[in-house]
């Protein structure tokens, strides 16, 4: 009995009893599907967080000074929340002092922002807009490029000129037929002249940039702000990550001195960096990667036990066949090989189905949600190997039992 014959026999059996085979293989299928799709999503998220998310929301080598944590999704504990509530505002004066004293600054920018229910241009409207009042280095600091017209200058800011740079989604909605540059946009009661359009970002994180209207800080404070001096946050971008580490420490010292904090007293402001978000993501990732193998192992063990059970039944059903084979000269090893090949083939079929489903699931996640997913080759190899391994390991006991049957008893079996 060679392995090829056994594989063909096993495949024929799987095909002949499709439904039964499916249930037999469910454990292995679920295990491998889960393995591949979880790895795909984690890998995709990983790439997304490291390349896109951290880079575009926080910028590389950028620190953010703010009164309360704004980008942690409310995960701070109650104590931190109580402490933050007493923090003083971050002000324009803070920003000026930092600009003077922190070394190696590439860009420093601050902004205020608010929600506008609607903006208009002529007859066209666009609802749900984020209005951001920014200083002149804000756009280069964020890496928001202009595709049409120009960006915002220091002159715009200082003079309080009513000009605006608009996001791609807004441009599309308000000016479907031509360039918006030179036209007016109505922001509440005020009329602003559009001087530029932002490059489209798209996707999940694009919802912020693409639906934004960006105006000079001076104009924003005059038209939309009640508290003149208060700002949302100060962002500082450094040339290198080493400069950022030094800059972060200097910033902390300066602000502590300005706020007259005693040594040992906690900061009454927050400094966030991209690495903080990366740390948070790494925590999530580690949980996923720690829980993942456990779940996969449970599914595969259950799958293996089901396969073992099916193989034991198969051995019982085929007792007589085994007797015949032995009478005709099959050695123990021949019988073991036959049944092992069969269980391994069974589970390999399960693993391949699981692989297809896993890739499909990852693709679906990629298409239907903003989460990116990518299936690395090693996860496919791992999945199929594990599936095959399960079939081999759990096939050993039934195969050995079959091989030990006494041919006389087996031949008499009804």
């Amino acid at each position: 009995m060679n392995v090829f014959d056994a594989v063909v026999l096993a495949l024929r059996q799987v095909w002949a009893q499709k439904l039964k085979s499916f249930f037999t293989l469910l454990g292995v299928i679920v295990g491998v599907t889960f393995l591949i799709s979880v790895i795909a999503v984690v890998e995709g998220m990983n790439r997304y967080v490291e390349d896109d998310f951290a880079g575009s929301i926080f910028g590389i080598n950028t620190i953010t000074v703010e009164r309360v944590y704004s980008r942690r999704g409310g995960r701070e504990d109650a104590r931190t929340r109580r402490r933050q509530a007493r923090n003083p505002d971050v002000t324009v004066a803070d920003a000026d002092i930092l600009r003077e004293n922190v070394p190696n600054i590439l860009y420093l920018a601050y902004n205020n922002d608010r929600y506008l229910p609607e903006v208009r241009a002529g007859q066209n409207r666009r609802k749900n807009v984020r209005l951001i009042g920014v200083t002149d280095q804000y756009l280069p600091l964020q890496g928001w490029d202009i595709v049409d017209g120009r960006g915002l200058t220091r002159i715009d800011d200082v003079r309080g000129i009513r000009v605006a740079v608009i996001g791609d989604a807004i441009a599309e909605k308000l000016f479907p037929d031509g360039s918006p540059v030179g036209n007016d946009i109505r922001l509440g009661p005020f009329r602003y002249q559009i001087v530029g359009v932002l490059e489209r970002q798209g996707g999940f994180i694009g919802v912020i940039r693409d639906a934004a209207v960006v105006i000079p800080f001076g104009a924003y404070q005059a038209d939309f702000s009640y508290r003149r001096n208060r700002i949302e946050n100060i962002q500082i971008k450094f040339e290198t990550s080493e400069a950022m580490v030094v800059g972060e420490a200097t910033t902390e010292e300066i602000l502590r001195a300005r706020h007259q904090l005693r040594p040992g007293e906690e900061n009454d402001f927050n400094i966030e960096t991209a690495s903080e978000v990366l740390n948070a993501w790494n925590t999530i990732k580690n949980v996923l990667l720690a829980a993942g193998p456990g779940l996969v192992a449970v599914a595969l063990v259950v799958g293996g036990i089901v396969i073992m059970n099916i193989m034991l039944m198969s051995v019982l059903e085929r007792t007589r066949e085994i007797g015949v084979r032995k009478a005709l000269g099959a050695r123990r090893i021949d019988i073991v090989r036959q049944f092992l090949a069969e269980s391994a083939t069974l589970s390999a079929v399960g693993a391949i189905i699981g692989m297809a489903l896993g890739i499909g699931l990852a693709w679906l996640v990629d298409m239907a949600t903003p989460l990116p997913a990518s299936v690395p080759m090693w996860s496919i190899v791992l999945g199929v190997t594990l599936g095959l391994f399960v079939g081999l390991v759990f096939g050993v006991y039934p195969a050995v039992r079959a091989s030990r049957l006494d041919p006389i008893v087996a031949l008499r079996y009804e």
Partner: protein, 239 residues
């Protein structure tokens, strides 16, 4: 230990088999001495409990004796282990069973090929030999049929082809006509006669006198011993 003569296919001395059945020891065979030479056509008869099946299992190398010697084609086989016995069964013995014992999920051709698979023959030679064997029992046109598409007589002929295909030194048939009507039984026995004329050595276990009549020698067992061992002309009614 004395070597049996070259002409002997089966040679036993004081062949004994005992079973432990609970606290009791069943003495199924109590010292059987017999010799069957090449090209003999022998029938074994005996009432149930006479030790027929036990003797058949020992001769078929499916079991080993408690005591005594068994020489098969000049080799002492009574003390061999499982794997060596499997090899002997594969090369030296062709089994024909009462219930045919064909594998139902595969074709007649594949069934006949089975012994060759276990002797490690290449696929091409296997097909060739299996075809020839099926041809020899008149089933050249049934090769791709599954057992359930064949009549009882055809199934037994496939089984005979399977027994022949490895060119064994002994064909061992256990009640080969037990599941067949008398017409078909006669056909099957004719095939055995043909094989005998071709030079095969055949041992048939039966409880039917008219089946035993096809042989040329009748051994009768009783209580684990040989009661009688007589030669007769083929076809002559046996007592």
């Amino acid at each position: 230990m004395m070597m049996p003569p070259d002409s002997a296919v089966i040679h036993t001395r004081e062949l004994t088999k005992e079973y432990e059945l609970g606290a009791e020891t069943v003495r199924a065979l109590r010292g059987v001495d017999m010799q069957i030479d090449k090209n003999e056509f022998v029938a074994i008869m005996g009432p149930s409990g006479s030790g027929k099946s036990t003797l058949l299992n020992l001769i078929g190398c499916l079991d080993t004796p408690t005591a005594g010697e068994y020489w098969l084609s000049g080799h002492e086989v009574s003390q061999l282990d499982d794997n060596e016995l499997a090899r002997i069964r594969n090369r030296e013995i062709g089994f024909v069973f009462q219930t045919f014992n064909l594998l139902s999920r595969t074709t007649a051709l594949h069934n006949v090929e089975l012994p060759l698979i276990y002797s490690g023959m290449s696929a091409r030679d296997r097909h060739q030999r299996a075809r020839e064997a099926l041809d020899a029992v008149g089933l050249a046109d049934r090769m791709t049929h599954h057992p359930n598409e064949l009549s009882g007589g055809e199934r037994q002929r496939v089984a005979i082809a399977r027994a022949l295909v490895n060119q064994p030194s002994l064909i061992l048939a256990d009640e080969p006509t037990g599941n067949l009507d008398s017409q078909t039984s006669a056909e099957i026995m004719d095939i055995f006669l043909g094989l005998h004329k071709r030079g095969e050595t055949i041992l048939i276990v039966t409880h039917e006198r008219d089946i035993a009549a096809f042989s040329e020698r009748l051994i009768t067992l009783r209580d684990g011993k040989i009661e009688s061992d007589e030669r007769h002309t083929i076809g002559a009614p046996v007592a």
